[in-house]
């Protein structure tokens, strides 16, 4: 693992940064309780579960903020699924900032994209799938990132050594594929396997109301394909990571109360070349009925030209969502949405609500409900995994 050289480098830079202008810790401790509304599809899968997680972040800057160190570590201990219990270094990097360029070396996290229902363009970091099926939790990625800041836009160049495999629930875990994923038997189509050094480039610019991003990624796909196999008399899915090339566009037009969003990717290397896209809008009604409550209405169309062969569940789907922001002292928020498959009417509903308690506590409620799931839909293995989750976190 490349954690050790990254850590050594971090310690070296740390020891040289004697005159830190800022040096601080922050983070949280959290307890989570999940209740599943139905018996599992497979008798081996667990019922209700609880788990603890913690995140600690260290930040240090010097030379008038032109140089900085960041360290973010994450730990979860799950009461039921040993694969959900894990530790990850989300960030461990050094950044130097100059007038025309910036450089980041170490483990980092990068987000690309604009849409809400899924994140097609976002490809630098691997998904930490055991954390959430929404794909928004990411594993730290070793990187050398050079950003050129010019009048014609920003150009980010990435060297990405040290491929990270996706996390999956274990055989007893919920929200898993119909057969468990044998994570320790992962296969690669590159002879260099996980030692392949991936590269990526992204140009981005804001022009008036438009925010534009064009990117290309060449390397090991973050998203595996699966091969069915047998292991000790059980059927398992073996993740197969292929080498891909993905060209992508992300675009947002901010026109008054309307945010128009589009993400398109074209990928080769994983079967035939294919195109996938997400596009739509977010329209916000500010201060409804003279109150301080904002209501955002979101609609997006999710498309994949592989149709039923798509490795994602969303090949011809519509997402409809509503976001309520209460703008109160407790920052109360509610986001509810549904993704509907246009072909087979399968539906995934989600509700996320949160509010702060006092200055340091936050309570979050999340629910995901699968209804009318067609047998052939790739979400069919989740059909008995409707759950409600309550989380209480203390921030420091």
């Amino acid at each position: 693992m490349l954690l050790r050289p990254a850590l050594m480098f971090f310690i070296l830079v740390y020891s040289m940064s004697v005159h830190a202008e800022k040096s601080e810790w922050s983070g949280y401790f959290s307890g989570e309780w999940r209740s599943f509304l139905h018996s599992p599809s497979d008798d081996e899968q667990h019922g209700d579960s609880s788990s603890l997680s913690a995140q600690a972040e260290y930040y240090r800057e010097w030379n008038n903020g032109k140089q900085s160190l960041r360290f973010t570590s994450f730990l979860r201990i799950d009461g039921r699924d040993s694969s959900r219990s894990h530790f990850d270094v989300r960030e461990l990097n050094w950044t130097t900032v100059h007038d025309k360029w910036e450089l980041t070396a170490g483990i980092g996290k990068v987000f690309w994209g604009v849409t809400e229902s899924q994140h097609l363009v976002d490809i630098i970091n691997q998904t930490d799938l055991v954390e959430s099926i929404d794909g928004e939790e990411k594993l730290g990625q070793l990187m050398l990132k050079l950003s050129l800041v010019r009048d014609w836009g920003n150009l980010d160049l990435f060297l990405l050594p040290g491929f990270r495999e996706r996390t999956f629930p274990s055989r007893v875990g919920r929200l898993r594929t119909s057969a468990a994923v044998a994570v320790n038997q992962a296969e690669y189509d590159s002879s260099q396997a996980r030692d392949h050094i991936d590269t990526a480039i992204r140009w981005s610019k804001s022009v008036g109301d438009w925010d534009i991003g064009l990117s290309h990624f060449s390397g090991t796909s973050r998203e595996p394909s699966f091969r069915v196999s047998q292991d000790k008399g059980r059927t398992v899915l073996i993740p197969v990571y292929t080498t891909i090339d993905q060209t992508a566009l992300d675009l947002q037009a901010t026109k008054d109360d309307w945010l128009w969003k589009l993400e398109i990717v074209s990928r080769s290397g994983q079967g035939d070349r294919y195109t996938a896209a997400t596009g739509g809008f977010e329209y916000t009604l500010y201060g409804i009925n003279e109150s301080s409550v904002d209501l955002g209405l979101i609609a997006e169309y999710l498309y994949d030209d592989r149709d039923n062969l798509a490795t994602t569940a969303f090949e011809n789907d519509v997402f409809l969502g509503a976001r309520l922001g209460f703008n109160d002292e407790a920052s109360s928020e509610l986001l509810a949405g549904v993704i509907i498959d246009v072909n087979d009417s399968s539906r995934v509903m989600s509700v996320e609500a949160s509010r702060r308690l006092g200055n340091n506590w936050k309570v979050s409620l999340e629910g995901r409900f699968f209804s009318n799931i067609a047998e052939l839909n790739s979400l069919s293995s989740f059909k008995n995994d409707d759950f409600v989750q309550l989380e209480l976190a203390w921030y420091f």
Partner: protein, 260 residues
Amino acid sequence: MQVNKILLLIILCYSTFAAALTPEQQGLEIAMESDRRDTGFGDSKADLTMLLKNRQGEESTRYIRLKTLEVSGDGDKSMSIFDQPRDVKGTAFLSFTHKTSSDDQWLFLPALKRVKRISSRNKSGSFMGSEFAYEDISSQEVEKYTYKYINDEACGNSTCFVIERFPVDELSGYTRQVVWINKEEYRPFKIVFYDRKNALLKTLTYSDYQQYLNKYWRADNMYMENHQTGKTTLLTWKNYKFNNGLTSRDFDKNSLKRAR
């Protein structure tokens, strides 16, 4: 004698001319003078504490660090970085204000490392759950209002111009604001806000002014009282620093992602 007569004539002419100014022109002149006296500060940094109190006396606190860059010929650029409440620590807000067109705003969400371009239409919405609306805390450009001078009034130990100003933008949460501006330094003393129905909404009081670079006045305390809800917000400014050498590079999407 002759000189005195000329002087008298000049004074007479001047006062006739002044009297010829409409209240609208007088109001605009005062706003422009106030703006002129605050021009040229370049850049500034400050730490802000917001103390929110509801009618029951329950309190909550926010800590924010602010950087501002003066842009000649356009509105200021600003970056706000949130330190407290702790669950939003690291959240950062980048804003390019414009004199006439709508502002550009981006939000950085640290959990996802995501920069989100947001709509700047939410002028009348509450800033961080406080009694300050976005339009109250954003850069106050002369062009954002039309004006009307009312009278002079005693304020504190001084005398103030009292002017009414009317937001140009129809999305503003106010029909009008009554502003007391100190006559010696042209700095705001008090603002009374009237809501869309022209009912008394809020009063903002500035106090404990400090002068920086021998020119620019900044109030240490800004106290906003909402007369309709009984809620209050006290802004306390500390560690004002000028001439930090900030450039537009400190106010771009790269610096937003790095903000801490």
